[in-house]
């Protein structure tokens, strides 16, 4: 897939993430009952204060993005994704007690079993890059959702590009 189209959703997500200062992410242990949208869940917050240091909201406000994207059937971490993960590694170095879960996803245009394996592979690629930046591997848990939890709902290249992703979620 052409590079330009794969970049677009990242830029959109950055904007989304920054605007959702009060975004609340549940840790994966609480996820199974119902799929939870990755970065669109908002909780009403009338407090004008900044996010609590070390919180998921602080994480989202501090990093370039919580999500990196992949080309079809690929799992390599490209240059832009490296920049995103570097910003995440910096945050993690500030909060050495914090754990994260890396959620790997695939688009709908794949068979179910393979996509679980592919999501696992992508999340591990992101994990390995964070580890190469000095994050202790024991702080990172990986989970694959295959094609089970799309965030973009169309059946088109733009939607699939958004769904081929690895999302870093802090464990609160």
């Amino acid at each position: 897939m052409p590079k330009l189209t794969s970049k677009l959703p990242i830029l959109l997500l950055v904007g989304t993430s920054l605007s959702l200062a009060a975004c609340a992410k549940k840790p994966p242990k609480e996820l199974p009952p119902q799929p939870t949208a990755t970065s669109t869940t908002t909780e009403p917050s009338g407090q004008p204060v900044g996010p609590t240091p070390g919180s998921q909201a602080d994480f989202l406000a501090s990093v370039l993005a919580d999500t990196i994207h992949f080309d079809t059937d690929r799992y390599n971490v490209d240059t832009e994704s490296q920049g995103i993960l570097q910003s995440q590694a910096q945050w993690l170095s500030r909060y050495p007690g914090k754990m994260v879960t890396l959620e790997g996803h695939a688009d709908e245009r794949g068979t179910r079993d393979y996509n679980i394996a592919l999501g696992e592979r992508r999340a591990n690629a992101a994990k390995n890059y964070l580890v190469s930046l000095g994050v202790d591997a024991s702080r990172i848990t990986v989970v694959s959702y295959g094609k089970e939890r799309p965030i973009a709902l169309g059946s088109d290249e733009a939607s699939w590009a958004k769904n081929r992703r690895a999302v870093t979620v802090t464990v609160q």
């Binding site: 799929p35 949208a37 079993d113 679980i116 394996a117 696992e120 089970e148 709902l153």
Partner: protein, 469 residues
């Protein structure tokens, strides 16, 4: 097993002796002969399987089969559907009619379009009447209720033109298993007329889907091969995927996100209990049974690399069968258990490979356009069904050596084939573009007879079990 209450009838002349509580296996004996002359016995159903080509079945389309309501000797109350044996007799004939109609080989006419027959006519058909209605074949049956509530169902197949009886069977069932008697009757007719092995009296495990595309609830569910007796197994709190019935129907192995991560569980239908297949350190998925039910194949990812493992169905240590960089996933045993067909992207994209059951001699068999995924070996051994990804996703079959590839479906996204017990029909699930709605479909090996199964909600990941004993 819950099949203990089912018995093929041994002889209608000795009805009182038919109370055979706890009989575990079907027994076969003759019903009273009809007054029609018996036809010459056919050659036994072949055991060799299809070889290469598929018979053109178009001529079967004209085989008109009349199936009037099954009369009863005395209409009495029954717990089976209908409330009394007279109404039940009509429901039995309806089930037989729908089985044969949905198969695509026959053009049956059911009880709602035919006059009823008298009880005495079951064994003394009015052939002239049926010839006048252009029926070529005639299925007649009856139903009786014993004082203990058990039902006796007789099933006769007549050749109208010859005026002769082709075959007959009787069944004793508990009222709540009345549909099985009708499926056995349809199986008898199908087998006698097609020469193929039966398949109607079987069950399907699948995933029931509800909710919007980004909040999809996925529950483990089971149903009979015709969609009846539907039952949810899990409540949808945890996403459930990819079930497979054990060969004896006592268990279902499936994937659940129960504790937040994808893991395979063995669910015991009788007790409602489930356990992890393995305490392995990585996520486990894509579970499959061996044909004898003694082993489970599964795939496990370690550090992003996925390989196929085998573990005893009782638990214990696992044996790793693949060991290559990339994603090795799925796996389906040949019917004799000697080989496994599986999927791997070790060559760069999803392709189909075959290995010996111990993991030795791994070789790629798919060398055609596009990707090939989710291979499933036919219970007859002669074909491998798979998902053919070339632009759209189609259900396709090929020989076990990778030759003679044929696409059977043509839609936007058809995937995950599962074989009927006789290897003549393939079920799969179809996903609608954009909406993400799913449904279970089936297609026969000619690719001509395709239909959607009726399920209460959206459905995916069908897994067809064997014919019940």
């Amino acid at each position: 097993m819950k099949t203990a209450k089912f018995a093929l009838l041994i002889g209608l002349a000795s009805l009182p002796s038919l109370a055979l509580p706890g009989l575990a296996f079907a027994q076969v004996q003759q019903l009273p002969a009809s007054s029609a002359s018996p036809a010459a016995q056919p050659a036994p159903a072949d055991a060799g399987g299809l070889t290469g080509s598929v018979t053109d079945e178009s001529e079967w389309q004209d085989l008109g089969i009349a199936i009037p309501a099954f009369p009863t000797d005395t209409s009495v109350a029954t717990a089976a559907e209908g409330g009394n044996t007279e109404a039940l007799g009509r429901n039995l004939a309806r089930v037989v009619y729908n089985d044969l109609k949905n198969n695509g080989l026959f053009k049956p006419v059911g009880p709602d379009a035919l006059p009823g027959i008298g009880f005495f006519q079951v064994t003394a058909p009015s052939f002239d009447f049926w010839r006048g209605r252009s029926a070529e074949m005639l299925v007649q049956g009856f139903v009786k209720a014993a004082p203990d509530g058990k039902l006796t169902v007789g099933c006769y197949l007549y050749d109208v033109a010859l005026g002769s009886e082709l075959i007959r069977q009787g069944y004793v069932v508990q009222p709540n298993e009345w549909r099985r008697a009708a499926h056995k009757c349809a199986d008898m007719v199908y087998s006698r007329l097609s020469g193929e092995n039966p398949f109607f009296d079987s069950k399907i495990a699948y995933i029931a889907e509800t909710g919007p595309k980004d909040h999809r609830r996925k529950q483990l569910a089971i149903m009979d091969s015709d969609g009846a007796n539907h039952r949810f197994i899990t409540n949808g709190q945890a996403t459930a995927l990819t079930p497979r019935y054990s060969p004896d129907y006592s268990k279902i192995v499936y994937l659940s996100y129960l504790n937040g991560y994808p893991r395979i569980y063995v669910y015991d239908i009788g007790s409602g209990q489930q356990r992890l297949v393995t305490e392995g350190k990585g996520p486990t998925f894509a579970p499959r049974w061996s044909p004898d039910g003694k082993f489970i194949l599964y795939s496990m990812a370690i550090g992003g690399n996925t390989d196929i493992y085998r573990v005893s169905a009782q638990g214990g240590p696992s044996t790793r069968l693949t060991n290559t960089p990339g994603i090795n996933v799925g796996g389906s045993y040949s019917p004799d258990g000697s080989r496994i067909v599986f999927e791997s992207d070790r060559s760069g994209s999803q392709q189909v490979y075959v290995m010996n059951a111990d993991g030795s001699n791994q070789r790629r068999i798919s060398f055609f356009g596009g990707r090939a995924a989710t291979p499933e070996w036919s219970p007859r051994g002669d074909q491998i069904a798979f998902t053919h990804i070339a632009g759209n996703f189609r259900i396709a079959v090929m020989d076990p050596n990778g030759q003679n590839v044929r696409d059977l479906t043509d839609s936007w996204q058809d995937e995950a084939p599962t074989w009927s017990p006789n290897g003549r029909i393939i079920q799969f699930f179809r996903t609608e573009r954009n909406s993400g709605k799913t449904g279970i479909w089936q297609v026969d090996l000619t690719g001509r007879n395709e239909r959607k199964l009726n399920t209460p909600v959206d459905a995916s990941d069908p897994a067809w079990g064997p014919v019940l004993p």
